[in-house]
């Protein structure tokens, strides 16, 4: 199996790197399948806490591989969507480490992640309208929930890119670092997260991601089962005990 997606695991952090720099890391069937497999592994392997999604060669992802698509290769995976990710992100947190371009499907992969760290020359955009398409892999759905609607509208209708600095100001990107440093910065961020209770981070992600759709008069009710799960967990007990004993917690993930 060729290395179009490089997956590595280091101390509870999985790194998934699209590795087709000659094709600007465009997503073909093989890439989508590899990401899908990695996401399944992420969620099923208790030793992995979170994952980083990135691209090699100073470029995140330029979107769907059009040539491959015309040959009949679909980058949409059943049940998971574009790139094996966009319609059904994993339970565990995902950080996008973006250098260069995150455009079209590449942009949609980035915003399907929970956090984004970007190099300062990174650029983000949905150029689909320029070729008569729309950003249907979550670009139009997620962007206006992440940044002000009118700015999302401008991005979608003009198809123009925004800079990492602008993306940071809009709150789309969590951190901007010097060009070339995004992956390292993402790893640093990942280690901070990986040190925290595994169940806690997964359920925090779940509440934040899903509660946007909960009505105000029922949101606490809907949160309750998740709170219960945490309250009953061994890790909650361990966390409090470790705090009292002034030591590092030893998580079990349950």
């Amino acid at each position: 199996m060729s290395d179009t997606v490089q997956v590595s695991i280091d101390e509870a952090v999985m790194t998934v790197a699209i590795n087709r720099p000659e094709a600007k890391n465009a997503v073909n069937r093989e890439v989508a399948e590899a990401i899908s497999t990695a996401m399944k592994e992420l969620d099923s392997n208790p030793t992995i806490r979170l994952a980083i999604l990135t691209g090699t060669g100073g470029m995140f992802c330029s979107g769907m591989d059009l040539k491959a698509y015309l040959r009949g290769e679909s980058p949409f995976i059943d049940g998971r969507g574009f790139g094996g990710l966009c319609s059904a992100p994993p339970q565990k947190p995902l950080i996008a480490a973006v250098e260069g371009f995150a455009l079209a499907g590449g942009f949609e992969l980035a915003i399907a992640c929970d956090l984004i760290v970007a190099g300062d020359s990174a650029r983000f955009g949905m150029p689909e309208v320029k070729v008569g398409l729309i950003a249907g892999a979550g670009g139009l759905l997620r962007t206006p929930r992440l940044i002000p609607q009118r700015v999302a509208m401008e991005m979608a209708l003009t198809g123009e890119m925004i800079s990492a600095a602008r993306a940071y100001d809009l709150g789309l990107v969590n951190r901007v670092v010097a060009s070339g440093g995004a992956l390292n910065a993402a790893l640093t961020l990942a280690r901070v997260i990986a040190a925290n209770g595994p169940l806690a981070i997964a359920l925090s992600k779940k509440v934040i991601s899903e509660s946007q759709d909960w009505l105000s008069n029922e949101m606490f009710t809907r949160q309750e089962p998740l709170l219960q799960a945490i309250a009953k967990s061994k890790d909650a007990m361990e966390g409090a005990t470790a705090f009292a004993e002034k030591r590092r917690p030893k998580w079990q993930g349950c």
Partner: protein, 238 residues
């Protein structure tokens, strides 16, 4: 006719489009073309626009000339620093349309203009001489000292820290940022504004505002040119 700089005169605005197909490096041909275009603009226009090409305003001196060596090195260097001085003291308002990267001498030329509009993404502002083993010409230091914001001046010049458009705005490399597709309109807006200035009044004001600058720049220019002569000799001697 030199195609490195396309000259257009319209409604008293002379637009000088630099385009060498790549990084708009400042070699003798480009510098000659720029000077000729500025000569025409000085005679014919009320406002000058110095326009980069897509992705690059100017990448600075042509490094291949250094590699080749010979008397061209000295000529190119001298023409480059003289152009900075010329722009700083130019009697007409000069608008820089910074369409992309501004590196080394390219950054200094940008700073030498009166009003600088930059693209908001996809451009690097980099006074990188220290990064490539070179030393800033004295006149370049003078331009940077006067045009760059004090807080950013040191790191940008001494350490050769590259700046993004957003940082460049803070640092004083540019006065305004626009998306690339909006550059043409932004330039036009400023042209329509500045073309209304009385040329004699503008020139007199600029001279007075630059008064304290004239002597230090002249001294720096002389010292730079003297130093370049010794480069020429050293290179020829190899």
């Amino acid at each position: 006719m030199n195609t490195l700089v396309r000259y257009d005169l319209h409604n008293d605005v002379a637009t000088l489009r630099m385009d060498d197909g790549k990084a708009n490096v400042m070699n003798i041909a480009m510098l000659t073309a720029l000077n000729e275009a500025l000569d025409r603009a000085e005679r014919q226009a009320k406002v000058v626009v110095l326009y980069g090409r897509e992705g690059s305003f100017s990448g600075g001196f042509d490094l291949s000339v250094f590699k080749r060596g010979g008397p061209d090195v000295q000529t190119m260097l001298e023409m480059g620093v003289r152009l900075c001085a010329r722009l700083v003291h130019f009697p007409l308002p000069v608008i820089a349309a910074c369409t992309g990267h501004a590196v080394a001498l390219g950054a200094i030329l940008l700073l030498s203009c009166d009003l600088r509009i930059g693209v908001d993404a996809g451009a690097r502002f980099h006074i990188n001489e220290v990064r490539i083993g070179m030393v800033l010409p004295r006149i370049a230091v003078e331009v940077c000292r006067r045009k760059l914001a004090p807080a950013q001046f040191h790191a940008a010049t001494t350490l050769g820290i590259p700046l993004t458009p957003a940082s460049a705005l803070l640092a004083g490399f540019v006065d305004e940022l626009v998306p690339a597709y909006a550059m043409k309109d932004a330039v036009q807006r400023h042209c329509m504004d500045l073309v209304q200035l009385n040329s004699a009044s503008f020139a007199a004001n600029k001279r007075r505002i630059n008064a304290q600058w004239i002597e230090p720049m002249a001294i720096a220019l002389e010292a730079d040119i003297a130093e370049f002569k010794s480069f020429g000799i050293a290179v020829q001697g190899n």
